[in-house]
Amino acid sequence: MSSTPMVDLRGVHKCFAGIEVLRGVDLTVRPGEVTVVLGPSGSGKSTLLRTINHLEKVDRGLVRVDGELIGYRRSGRKLHELPERQVLRQRSHIGFVFQNFNLFPHLTVLDNVAEAPISAQGRDRATVLGEARELLDRVGLADKLDEYPRRLSGGQQQRVAIARALALRPKLLLFDEPTSALDPELVGEVLDVMRDLARSGTTMVVVTHEIGFAREAADTVVFLDEGRVVEQGPPAQVLDDPREPRTRAFLGAVLR
């Protein structure tokens, strides 16, 4: 096992308009692992996920991905904020899948997937397009290359979004409630793709309410409440035998 963790959060704090959303979160994700973050709404799950790729700037604490400090450069005792271009370069190695898909509505499915590898990573257009086709085939959308996103179902759109994130050949994939905006019958097709990715050894951090997915696919389950990690461990322990009363109360409410 590699000694550098893929994600390493140390004492992360974040405030929004005076309200402390994260109050000192430590989190370690090893390469190839799947971490599922659970917690009641407002517990800071999404904010936590967004600090990993610097969509949210942290107020205090350090974020490292694959050993590299995110958003800052350290020299001695000082942290220098990185210029936007370098932050964008760091992000282009971290895939992010949104709750509302956020596909570009004016671009075809194929262009949605191929845009960032070409413009953010400067890779060869023909190679990228070839890879994009393969990825869309992998998520079962080989016949939708030239469609516009609005003409697809929610589940299909989210699968395009996953292909778009994968096209960057990311070291790490972040999922922010990827199935919460979907009709119940479409959740399965997205979870299937995610399970497939988990099996193939992709490092993933997933914020979700899908306890079933956590049980099957997670290596670690983290329970977050009021901006703090309350409990973490293998799914069998956290989900089936939680130590903390708050975890138990949450699971009781979700699994009811």
Partner: protein, 317 residues
């Protein structure tokens, strides 16, 4: 559902479910629509009658001057002023809009001040300022700011009447264009920016490839409005004695005394220019609707073909 079934169920009526297959729909009648149609038709007929029968309109003179070389030249100048005004205006306006949305407070306030001044001062006044620029600055020099000049040029030589007119129209237009473009950018879903940021797409690429095409959906209709406004707005330039359309017809009617027909000539040409632009607007809007609408509206040609096909089917049936 059950009520429907019972309604059909009574055995007395001898109606099997098969009878439902060949029901015909009788469309609802709208008597008031017919009344309104008749009233409007009479009014339109009266208006046309007044236009044609009153000799004062002098349609013969209109026909005589409509394609006169001096008028055609004037139309071309009007077109030139419009195109340069709108292109320069929108390029500058886009820059101003991006400045106003920038996090840099100096850029923001410069843009705000520009828009404030150029929207506040009447166009006709601005045009006269540009026309009389030589009174303010005799010569214009190019070189190091506040330092030595590399070369100098007389203001009169650099800013002739046409340049003054284009400058005046474009700089005035830019202030409005900036707000049109800004509103387009403001209308974009925040999630689009987040997605672009999360994918690491560089800033300028994001503006060009993600934001601008989506902003165009809101920008185009308003921009077309501005463009059509400018076509007619160019007529203000007549105070600079530039022989655009409105000035030219005035020149002709002061000589010939045929005021009404000459005004009609100008009106017809403005109508033609605006019509062409409106048609262009339809296609540009359609282009930017890609992905936003599930089905694009048919072009007039497609609609014509569809009607023709339906007609043929009906004849065949």
């Amino acid at each position: 559902m059950s009520e429907l079934v019972t309604a059909h169920a009574p055995p007395v009526r001898h109606e099997g479910p098969d009878d439902d297959a060949d029901l015909t729909v009788v469309q609802a009648r709208h008597p008031w629509r017919w009344v309104a149609t008749a009233v409007v038709a009479v009014l339109v007929a009266m208006a046309l009658h007044a236009l044609v029968t009153n000799a004062a309109w002098d349609w013969a003179t209109v026909g005589q001057y409509l394609f006169a070389p001096s008028i055609i030249r004037a139309v071309l100048l009007t077109l030139q002023l419009t195109v340069l005004g709108i292109v320069v205006g929108f390029v500058l306006g886009t820059v101003l809009a991006i400045m106003r949305l920038s996090p840099n407070p100096l850029l923001r306030s410069v843009s705000w001040t520009y828009i404030w001044i150029f929207r506040s001062v009447p166009l006709i006044l601005q045009l006269l300022f540009w026309y009389n620029l030589a009174l303010l600055y005799k010569s214009i020099s190019f070189g190091v700011p506040f330092g030595p000049a590399l070369f100098e040029i007389g203001t009169m030589d650099l800013v002739g009447p046409v340049t003054a007119a284009v400058l005046g129209l474009a700089l005035h237009q830019a202030a409005y264009a900036a707000e049109v473009v800004r509103s387009g950018f403001l209308g974009i879903d925040q999630g689009q920016l987040e997605a672009a940021a999360a994918l690491g797409i560089p800033r300028w690429r994001r503006v060009r490839r993600i934001q601008l095409p989506q902003a165009m959906r809101t920008i185009v209709p308003t921009a077309a409005n501005e463009l059509i406004g400018l076509v007619k707005g160019t007529s203000v330039v007549y105070i600079m004695a530039l022989s655009e359309l409105f000035y030219q017809v005035q020149v002709i009617y002061t000589r010939t005394g045929r005021v009404i027909p000459m005004l009609l000539v100008a009106a017809v040409w403005y109508l033609v220019l605006t019509t062409v632009l409106s048609i262009g607007q339809f296609y540009v809007e359609r282009h930017y609707a890609k992905g936003a609408l599930r089905v694009l509206p048919p072009t007039p040609l497609q609609r014509l073909r569809a009607t023709f096909a339906r007609f043929r089917r009906e004849v065949a049936a």
